[in-house]
Symmetry: C2
Subunit: 221 residues, 2 copies
DNA sequence: GACTGAACGTACCATTTCGTACATTGTTGC
DNA sequence: GCAACAATGTACGAAATGGTACGTTCAGTC
């Protein structure tokens, strides 16, 4: 805390040779995130991560014990980042219908803008969620995610603009499914149906469809 | 064609020593499907596939040239199997609303019953659909999938029970998204929200929700 | 300014892993 | 029956890969 020598530090004239643990750790984690999300746990190579890092392979094993631990930290960091962004959403001042619409659009766009995160979750599912299960951090992080949606939903039911009997957790499932699939299966879907799904105009359309779908689903009838 | 000595063939008293190419090939493909879908392209090991096969590693390289080609054949076989099952669906004799409902439920259940296929598609997406792009077979197989849905949709619009202006391809996207996610993200979702998603009663509920969601989406209003 | 532990670099090892060389056995056409 | 080719078994090689041993430098403390 005393030392102001954070990362981007050519402070004095000639650069002090080294020792910047926090930055090295962060750098490794950033590179690992790219590599794991791109190639998976078994596909990523420690040597390649080391090369792309300012640090050396030795440092990877110094800060993270082995490949799997590094992967776990990567996963945890990704979830943390997501939850941080989600926390910025403030829906309480909006009417329920507006709030839900906003939430859906946010989720859709957020996933679209963070393919690394989506891919890590895909990869984690390939591994049967075995690493996620080890992480108390991620479990606790996600506890409150449903709460936001629950509040909106309850308000909506009270005001009569949402129908009763829906489970917020299942509602969250539906929103996640649509937003996740948009990123996770973009490649196969685009190729099979010869449709450039990633194109802005198509993303726009899908966002509309998804929002419309969720809103129609909660509307009383 | 002349030789009736297909696979399960201890035909005469003492079993002929060997040479059953078709069966060997099929066996390798079956094992490879399990291995690749379980561990991914980079995670699967040729040696392990060889061990689990009645054949030897030599045979893998004999029939399929290398690991990636074997993976591609696995992927193609998986898509072929799916399309075969889909072809059994006969929706033309049903009213549009019923037909669509049937289609959604079929897709949902089919995906749920074929996690291997889902996982292969996940893995293929991790690889940016690079292998699928090489396969003319898969491209052609999927050409007609939209047609079924298009027919149902057009009939529905004509009879006034579906609203106009929807794109069948996008409708297919929505149905796929919900059905796919149900399998692909089961592990992470279950663990994070402490909800046994695979439990029959929950699968039942999700099937209802998904169907309801799609039907509500197409209803004119 | 010596001491100590944290931070870091280099070289290396043991295994794993994809793939192949080579020999052998079955099968089919004539 | 015999040539010619398809199918299969065994053993091995070369490179990649996760991980470590060992030594060196940095930074704070007395």
């Amino acid at each position: 805390m005393t030392a102001p020598s954070t990362k981007a530090n050519p402070p004095a004239a000639r650069r002090r040779r080294k020792n910047d643990p926090e930055s090295v750790r962060a750098d490794i984690l950033a590179v690992a995130t790219r590599e794991f999300s791109e190639k998976g746990l078994s596909g990523a190579r420690i040597d390649e991560i080391a090369e792309k890092t300012r640090a050396s392979k030795r440092m990877i094993y110094y800060y993270f014990n082995d490949k799997e631990t590094l992967y776990l930290h990567t996963l945890e960091a990704a979830y943390q980042k997501v939850r941080l962004q989600e926390a910025e959403l403030d829906l309480d001042h909006l009417a329920p219908f507006e709030a839900l619409s906003r939430l859906v659009r946010f989720t859709f766009c957020h996933h679209a803008k963070n393919p690394d995160f989506i891919r890590l979750v895909m990869i984690e599912n390939i591994h049967h969620g075995r690493f996620l299960a080890q992480s108390e951090l991620i479990q606790s992080l996600n506890a409150g995610v449903i709460d936001v949606l629950t509040n909106v939903y309850i308000r909506g039911v009270e005001e009569g603009c949402f129908r009763e009997g829906l489970d917020p957790r299942e509602l969250h499932w539906l929103i996640s499914a649509l937003s996740f699939f948009n990123v996770s299966n973009q490649h196969t879907f685009s190729r099979i149906f010869d449709w450039h799904q990633a194109a802005p105009e198509n993303q726009q359309k899908l966002e509309e469809h998804v929002t419309e779908m969720v809103l129609r689903y909660v509307r009383p009838e």
